[in-house]
């Protein structure tokens, strides 16, 4: 536990000491604030459904920027050797990187809860879809962070890590658009792999255990791949 907390502390410090985390959070909140205000004044509906889809879309771009350096930079700088020759397990290193990145992303998502507070103060929103939307965002973020971590474990180049993670994330997001062109069996597989199809029920107020299970199992699979990539040296 001591090693894990030391690694998480170090990751959080690295993320927040560099200006990049603050810039990402600032830009993200500015865009979301603009969108929330504009939509609220135009539609006058006390809902956050559109915000949830916009946040999800931005996460596809932002999470790879946060995760690209996680292991790729350690590998490039040689500090991975320092960490893995200390009494640290690969799983502790991977978990620490995952937890610290999730903390940043959840902070970013959590700050948008101010919009829900505004809706609560000046309107009568349905709270169920708001809770499920935030849960959906947290689960989606978990899958994207672990995917970015796995890609970062496979290369020593941060830019490659970011580009590949963005590519894979977007492909998984919209893979169901291909489904209509394929036979039934493949159609079902592609829809079941689609991040958009899995996220939509959460954003609109429906929660299914199968969707939550999908996000949790993809997270575990990606963390396992990251761990194996570290062990293969």
């Amino acid at each position: 536990m001591s090693s894990l907390s030391a690694l998480v502390d170090k990751e959080l410090r690295t993320l927040f000491q560099a200006p990049i985390a603050w810039i990402i959070i600032g830009v993200f909140l500015a865009l979301m604030g603009y969108s929330f205000t504009l939509t609220l004044f135009n539609n006058r509906y006390a809902t956050l459904v559109h915000i949830f889809f916009q946040v999800a879309g931005l996460l596809l771009l932002i999470v790879p920027i946060i995760t690209m350096r996680l292991l790729a930079e350690e590998r490039r700088a040689g500090t991975l050797e320092l960490l893995l020759t200390a009494p640290v397990k690969e799983i502790q290193l991977v978990l620490a990187k995952y937890l610290a990145s999730m903390a940043v992303v959840l902070l970013m998502i959590g700050l948008t809860a101010a919009y829900a507070v505004v809706l609560g103060l000046y309107g009568t929103p349905e709270w169920g879809p708001i809770y499920s939307g935030y849960l959906g965002l947290a689960l989606l973020a978990s899958t994207l962070v672990s995917l970015g971590l796995a890609v970062s474990a496979l290369t020593s180049n941060q830019v490659i890590a970011a580009i590949v993670t963005i590519g894979v994330s977007f492909l998984l997001w919209m893979v169901d658009t291909l489904a209509a062109m394929l036979p039934d069996a493949l159609e079902r597989v592609l829809i079941s792999l689609s991040l958009l199809a899995r996220f939509t029920p959460f954003a609109t107020g429906a929660m299914y255990a199968s969707d939550a299970g999908f996000f949790i199992s993809t997270t575990l699979l990606a963390l396992f791949i990251a761990m194996r990539a570290l062990a293969r040296r």
Binding site: S2, A6, R13, A77, G78, E81, P87
Partner: protein, 243 residues
């Protein structure tokens, strides 16, 4: 108790490592006793760093095995790593961290917490004489002080084995002398395994040398027993191999 009764700090048996089709280390065996300074000597690419990386658990051998303080480096890797302090060749450190932050981080990885960690850091800072620099950013330190910080992190938790990969690379003559004196001073508390391709460096600190060429161990020689100097011995062995 005779020397042969003392359990070795390091036991390497028939160690072999391939990178793809290329053999980096071939059937290497040697032991190290507590308090011993051993030099791994050989030209670049002779397999020195690969052996160190296997002993520190960073790489796995293709065949053969190694033990550190009685722990197998593959099956009991975590326990073995708790006995080892390691300074890699290029002194990889976190440039954006301050020295004390880095040492606290590495101390915590070795299981040191709170006051015990602070005491251990004070001890290594004093031993390596870089007190005035403990609040500096590592990225702003000279190569010599970076080397000291790297050695300091390796000494946290009082390892039984200190492994230094090319510790004098890039240092000026004064710093080389300081590292040499430090190795000799540390040998009273722990075994030290040091690599170098500079003969004189190894000759001045090591009790025994293991000479490697193309991944093969040519000889393990106690320097006190050798009638010829290390340079002559090295040339005799390596020239003999070439012929």
């Amino acid at each position: 108790m005779t020397d042969s009764d003392v359990p070795p700090v390091v036991r390497v048996e028939h160690l072999t490592k391939y990178y793809g089709a290329r053999c980096a280390v071939s059937d290497v065996s040697f032991d190290m006793q507590p308090g011993e300074v051993m030099g791994l000597l050989g030209p670049n690419g002779s397999g020195k760093s690969t052996i160190l990386r296997i002993l520190t658990g960073y790489l796995q051998p293709t065949s053969g095995g190694a033990q550190v303080c009685g722990f197998d480096v593959v099956t009991q890797s975590l326990q073995a790593r708790r006995c080892v302090g390691y300074v890699p060749e290029d002194v990889p450190l976190y440039a954006q961290m301050r020295v004390h932050e880095f040492l606290t981080f590495m101390g915590r990885l070795r299981g040191l917490e709170g006051a015990a960690c602070a005491r251990a850091i004070d001890e290594v800072v004093e031993r390596l004489s870089f007190g005035p620099y403990r609040h500096q950013l590592i990225g702003k330190l000279s190569r010599g002080y970076r080397q000291r910080v790297a050695i300091a992190q390796a000494l946290l938790g009082r390892p039984k084995l200190l492994i230094l990969d090319e510790p004098t690379n890039g240092l000026d003559p004064r710093q080389i002398i300081e590292v040499r004196e430090l190795i000799l001073a540390l040998a009273s508390d722990m075994a030290v395994l040091v690599t170098s391709h500079i003969l004189v460096e190894v000759e001045r600190v090591a009790h025994r040398v293991a000479i490697l060429l193309d991944g093969r161990l040519l000889a393990v020689q106690a320097l006190a027993d050798s009638r010829m100097g290390l340079e002559e011995l090295f040339l005799a062995l390596t020239e003999g191999e070439k012929q």
